[in-house]
Amino acid sequence: MARFAGKTCIVAGGARGIGGKTCEFYAAEGGRVVIGDVREELGTDLASRIGERAVFQPLDVTDPESCRVAVERAVGEFGSADHLVNCAIKMDPAPLIDLKLESWKLVVDIGLTGMFLMCQAFGRWAIENGRAGSIVNLSSNAGVQPYGLSGAYSTVKAGIIMLTQHIAIEWARKRIRANAICPGHTETPLTAYLQDPEVKKGRSEVTPVGRVAQPEDIVHGILFLLSDEAAYITAARLDIDGGLTSSIFNHMPGRKWD
């Protein structure tokens, strides 16, 4: 049976990468998706590839009105907004000592403030209409351990975990679940540096399972947490990282213990 038959999901940052793959897989399991993104061309292309169960909605998560309109579009087009996946993010790396205020604000605005606004717009509709819902927010390994030289990214990703848990606790009795996923190194347009074979090889080697993730690896976790299979899961953090976060001692030389 199709897991998402009759359900509608809004994917913020849904035009490409992990968000794009989420849209494809969600629709393939019977659901309908609103692809929210600032990238109109990519988003429109993806919607037409998926077909009648997808629409593109221009979405700037830093604007509360734009978030509200995205929820309205889901309801208008498909009748409800049951699920929300937040993927929108920017990376603007620099050493903290040189980090420009604009760079800090850009990443915080899109990654953290924008995620709050999108969740709030979704939550307002769901709570006003007495509807159950499930939210999955994309954090990162970098939200669990500091990612040096990533600018505001690590701080934003850590904030996302707490924002998600906070939402989960405040809205639990409203039947809205919220969970965070922390991917490790994942090959997406955001991480174009993985196209460099040397970087990809190095990042694969530091990961216990010996490879970087593909978006599909992350999407399976997103769909599990959205679905009723995860009915009792809220305020949780799921690492999908091939063991990366737990492996710092792998880098310690000199374990000639036998």
């Binding site: 848990q165 989960a168 606790i169 639990a172 009795r173 679940r177 490790g184 216990p208 399972v209 010996g210 993730a213 690896d217 992350i218 399976h220 976790g221 599990f224 299979e229 995860a230 009915a231 009792y232 899961i233 809220t234 305020a235 949780a236 799921l238 690492d239 999908i240 990282d241 091939g242 063991g243 976060t245 737990s246 492996s247 792998n250």
Partner: protein, 270 residues
């Protein structure tokens, strides 16, 4: 189906979360080795798995004994020729105050809940290492992330189980084996049923969970099956709480939110 043709061992498979995991795994196409210390409940799970149209064998064992763990792997291999997955659920809950906790109560919990997990994973892992493939799921508890006062060695044992699964996950990643933990919150199961029979306790325990209810074994089994399946192929050394938000709810119980004259009474239903 998520576990089509997979051969899965579940310790503590005779009841509660273990039994629910056996049944759900069977529905997803797996054949089961039901390991339990109690042959009556174990045989009942075998019947329930067969009713789902899948194969099941019963292995009577004490998970804290190495020879039993080795026999568990042998009997599974004899029946199915391979071992694709292991779920460790077997546990004892022996509550007590630390100042008077008897050594044998400490040992009982640690032997079954931590050494037993190690022995079973080590035994089942031999075949997985040979196959360069396998998935291990340890059932821990929110008590492994938060102190569980008056529960004796339980929360220490459960914290150890989380770390042990991460260790298996990282050390055996090169063998193509994944290992993860599920940390259930409060679940109504045979282990906790006597407690939940008291209506006051049942109501009180539901009320402290942000979602407002305790969980059922099937909800934990869903997580176990997901982590066993190829959908979780990039997930290892992870710990997934399934607790209705309980593990993150401490600040809900802090009274008096009167911040700078802005008084907001915390009412979870508002």
């Amino acid at each position: 189906m998520m576990l089509d043709g997979k051969k899965i061992i579940v310790t503590g498979g005779g009841s509660g979360i273990g039994r629910a995991t056996c049944i759900l795994a069977a529905r997803e196409g797996a054949d089961l080795a039901v390991a339990d210390i109690n042959p009556e409940t174990g045989d009942e799970t075998v019947k329930l798995v067969k009713a789902e149209g899948r194969e099941a064998i019963f292995i009577e064992m004490d998970t804290s004994k190495k020879e039993d763990a080795l026999r568990m792997a042998e009997e599974t291999l004899a029946a199915y020729g391979t071992i694709d997955g292991l779920v460790c659920c077997a546990i004892k809950l022996v509550p007590g105050r630390l100042e008077e906790l008897p050594e044998e109560d400490w040992d009982m919990v640690m032997d079954v809940g931590l050494k037993g997990y190690f022995l079973c994973a080590q035994a089942a892992g031999q075949s997985m290492i040979k196959n360069k493939s396998g998935a291990i799921v340890f059932v821990s508890s929110v008590g492994g992330m938060q102190t569980y006062p008056l529960a004796g060695a339980y929360s220490v044992c459960k914290a150890g189980a989380i770390m042990l699964s991460k260790l298996f996950g990282v050390e055996w990643a090169a063998h193509g084996i994944r290992a993860n933990t599920i940390s259930p919150g409060q679940v109504r199961s045979p282990m906790t049923e006597a407690m939940f029979q008291d209506p006051e306790i049942a109501a009180g325990r539901a009320a402290v969970v942000p979602m407002g209810r305790v969980g059922v074994p099937e909800e934990i089994a869903e997580g176990c099956v997901f982590l066993l399946s190829s959908r979780a192929r990039y997930i290892t050394a992870a710990n997934l709480p399934i607790d209705g938000g309980h593990g993150e709810s401490k600040m809900i119980h802090v009274p008096g939110r009167n911040w700078g004259g802005k008084k907001i009474a915390y009412d979870p239903d508002k």
